[in-house]
């Protein structure tokens, strides 16, 4: 599975990368904000995206909309924090395939990623 990690926090990108390192995923690229995510998506065409919501330039939800316009088959997992219920709802309405709530541990993340394979 080819994965793109989108998060404006470099820590989160490192964290997600390390959590899935042992599994059979290939992180093809990382993006630092929504616009970057859309651009890199066009370039690298990952199968799955983990998408932070609160980001500069383009929010995770805006980026999600843009990306889903380009490809409806790409799986997008929203990475959110407590208190963002409304935003996730909006994301799901706009085609987010699943979401995960910070803080999470590797088993949760892997479970969500695995479910994207089907």
């Amino acid at each position: 599975m080819r994965l793109m990690i989108v998060d404006d926090a470099s820590f989160m990108r490192v964290a997600i990368r390390r959590m899935i390192e042992k599994e059979d995923y290939e992180v093809v690229c990382e993006a630092e904000d929504g616009q970057d995510a859309v651009d890199k998506f066009k370039k690298y065409r990952p199968d799955v995206i983990t998408m932070d919501i609160t980001m500069p330039n383009l929010s995770g939800i805006e980026a999600l909309k843009e990306i889903k316009k380009i490809s409806s088959t790409v799986k997008v997992i929203m990475v959110s924090a407590m208190g963002q219920e409304a935003l996730i709802r909006e994301a799901v309405m706009n085609g987010a395939n699943s979401f995960i709530v910070k803080p999470f541990k590797e088993d949760k993340l892997i479970e969500v990623l695995e479910s994207m394979k089907s």
């Binding site: 820590f11 390390r18 066009k42 208190g83 219920e85 996730i88 799901v92 699943s98 803080p103 479970e111």
Partner: protein
């Protein structure tokens, strides 16, 4: 650690990023405070910063840090969402700066491998009180309550537009989510949202999964119930439901129309107005087709690796690299200056060694450039100091910063932050008067403080200048005399020598010790710190007009241009920057004073002579001035002449620190370090500033 996934690189990434955010946040606060308000951009940024800290800290299980960030995030959420809101700007800035301080300390703890255990209770309370008050003052707390009191529907339904009455089957579904998967209501919503393609009609309970976060608890304890009417294959529906993420248990059974109706009837009179928006399937289809084409077009572009233009490198590696380049420079000298080869005078060898020298010095420049960091971050920190100080002391001071883009070596930057902070504190505390005093003195009531950095040869000058009351020469002299620091009469000393006394250990001008400065361990520590990196401190002042303190700092510590000299069997290296000239004196030019000290007149100025063989107790045959050579050295306008046997030549040398044995136990004066020469022998690098220099110009 209790979390298997948290490891060193993650911790490093966390501390690095969080520290950076905190620093930027602090600057943002200071800038905003100057303007007196948060710009929309600043607000968004602060919100995002706190959001990031909240999320990252929660991931690291640093809950206190996360909670505090969450509260501040909430405050900014409220302010951002309500454009007309009125809020207490000053208190908010204070709260955030206090949090910044707290975070800084916690980051240090985490970096040192400790648990962040700072007590946030009072700080969190303070922030929380602010939030509560903010909401109350602006009437935002009530509206939320009203929402909650609204009668809530317990069940809701969704009816597909293309509903077919025939062949429909009915299913009863109960979904139980796994523990701790969080936001069960939204997960339930996801199930409903994505099932629409499969079903004709779906009812669910609890129904208020969208507006009411309390529904989470109900789903947790009772599960999520659905009644489905569908013409799709049973297996497909079950397969879809089975694929629900974080599914603990799925109860799925076919039921009859009666049961379905019952489920419907119970909630019949409930409002059904907030139906879920149905995606326009037809539009979606078109888009899919369109995008498929696009996708094929762009497929060729796909490359596997991400290109990055900036990488972060561990400083240890850079230090190591610098060391190795140092070794290389030595090795290069060993080869190209090898006495036996040089004697052969081979032209091709000379050419090759020149080429080697060119490359190795380019390499050295490059490594140096990599290690260079702009002073801007250090300078920015000073804004905060000025802010805190002026508030506490109720003085009005503006800090102007120039040349913050000036770069110095990474290792040096770390060592100048504290001294600089101290000088700035001193300037505001002791230097700049309060508004009343300034008015009387006919000055602008607002004090001015300038912080400037500039390059000057192989040094960087950092200049701190205030327009305060200046240093009182007589007072300093009197105090130093009473403390027994000096014995000369005031007429025998020039201004700079007197000002320099404030750098003396144990000297503090302020009678009263304040919170910020004046503990008597001030300027001498500054001087020590700066000297430890090979720099020096220059103090200048005009009484009533202000004080200027200049920190002279070398660009880099590691490699210097030096002149090698020979004394007996020993070799010394004198930094080229200190050398004014060298010459062979005539014996008749030497003057002796009644105490036997020797001096020489050069162009009408009298320089003391220090014989290196005598100073270091060495054996040499060259004791006659006319056979040896004098090297005139200068540091901060003070000079002397050093006597050596002969000059060996100019060379770049790599500074290695002296072993502790020499530095601590023997405490030999005048040595700045040591180095290896081309022929493999050890040379001691002289620290000219430590010799007994005299101020030849002003007498």
């Amino acid at each position: 650690m209790e979390n298997s996934y948290i490891d060193e690189p993650m911790l490093e990434a966390y501390v690095y990023e969080t520290s950076q955010i905190i620093e930027t946040l602090e600057q943002l606060m200071i800038q905003s405070e100057k303007v007196g308000t948060f710009s929309e951009e600043a607000m968004n940024e602060i919100f995002r910063f706190m959001h990031t800290i909240k999320g990252s800290s929660a991931m690291m299980m640093f809950n206190e840090i996360s909670t505090l960030a969450h509260k501040i995030e909430d405050i900014f959420y409220v302010i951002r969402e309500n454009k007309t809101i009125e809020y207490d700007f000053a208190t908010l800035v204070d709260c955030i700066l206090e949090s910044v301080d707290y975070y800084k300390i916690e980051m240090i703890k985490i970096r040192n491998g400790e648990r962040p255990d700072g007590d946030t209770a009072s700080l969190t309370d303070k922030v929380n009180d602010y939030l509560v008050k903010l909401k109350k003052d602006n009437g935002l707390d009530k509206s939320k309550k009203e929402d909650k009191e609204k009668p809530k529907a317990d069940q809701k339904y969704y009816i597909s537009p293309n509903r077919k009455e025939d062949q429909a089957k009915y299913y009863k579904v109960k979904i139980t989510f796994k523990k701790n998967c969080e936001m069960e209501n939204i997960r339930a919503y996801t199930v409903i949202h994505n099932i629409v393609d499969l079903v004709e009609e779906v009812l669910y309970k609890p129904s208020d999964i969208i507006d009411n976060d309390q529904s989470v608890d109900e789903i947790r304890s009772n599960g999520f119930h659905m009644a489905i009417r569908s013409t799709a294959h049973e297996a497909d529906i079950q397969k879809y439901l089975d694929s629900t993420i974080f599914l603990e248990k799925l109860d799925f059974e076919e039921t009859n129309q009666e049961w379905f109706k019952e489920f419907e009837v119970i909630y019949q009179d409930q409002e059904i107005s907030d139906e879920i928006k149905i995606p326009e399937t037809s539009k979606k289809y078109v888009e899919i087709q369109k995008n498929k084409k696009e996708k094929e077009d762009s497929k060729q572009e796909v490359t596997a690796t991400a290109a990055q233009s900036i990488i972060s490198v561990n400083v240890d590696k850079l230090d190591k690299l610098m060391d190795m380049v140092g070794e290389l420079v030595i090795a290069e000298a060993m080869v190209s200056q090898n006495p036996e080869v040089v004697r052969l005078e081979i032209e091709s060898f000379d050419k090759a060694s020149r080429q080697l020298h060119k490359i190795s010095s380019e390499l050295q420049d490059m490594v140096m450039a990599i290690r260079m960091v702009a002073l801007s971050t250090t300078f920015m920190k000073m804004h905060r100091i000025v802010r805190d100080m002026t508030r506490k002391l109720s003085k009005d001071v503006v800090l102007d910063v120039y040349g913050e883009e000036t770069e110095v070596d990474k290792n040096i930057i770390e060592k100048i932050a504290d001294p600089l902070m101290h000088i700035i504190r001193n300037a505001i505390d002791h230097g700049i008067e309060d508004a009343e005093e300034r008015k009387i003195a006919g000055k602008d009531p607002q004090g001015n403080l300038t912080l400037e950095a500039k390059n000057s040869g192989s040094d960087v000058l950092i200049i701190v200048k205030d327009d305060g009351k200046g240093l009182n020469k007589e007072k300093i002299y009197e105090k130093a005399y009473n403390l027994g620091l000096i014995y000369q009469s005031i007429e025998d000393m020039n201004d700079k020598d007197i000002y320099r006394l404030i750098l003396h250990p144990g000297f503090s001008m302020k009678e009263q010790v304040t919170e910020f400065s004046g503990r008597g361990v001030g300027m001498d520590v500054v001087a020590k710190n700066i000297e430890s990196i090979g720099g020096s401190v220059i103090v200048d002042s005009v009484l009533g007009k202000g004080t200027t303190i200049i920190l002279k700092i070398p660009l880099t510590l590691a490699i210097i241009e030096g002149m090698n000299v020979k004394v007996g069997d020993s070799r010394f290296t004198i930094p080229i920057v200190s050398i004014k000239e060298s010459f062979r004196p005539l014996n008749k030019e030497i003057i002796r004073d009644p105490e036997g000290r020797e001096m020489i007149m050069v162009r009408g100025l009298c320089y003391p002579i220090i014989k290196l063989y005598e100073h270091y107790g060495l054996q040499t045959n060259v004791q006659d001035y006319e056979k040896g050579i004098l090297i005139m050295v200068e540091e901060d306008d003070r000079s002397c002449c050093l006597m050596a046997d002969e000059l060996l030549g100019q060379q770049q040398v790599v500074v290695k620190s002296l072993p502790n044995y020499i530095k601590k136990y023997k405490q030999i004066k005048g040595l700045g370090g040591c180095t290896l020469l081309g022929d493999g022998s050890i040379s001691l690098i002289l620290d000219v500033g430590e010799f007994e220099l005299s101020n030849v110009h002003e007498k």
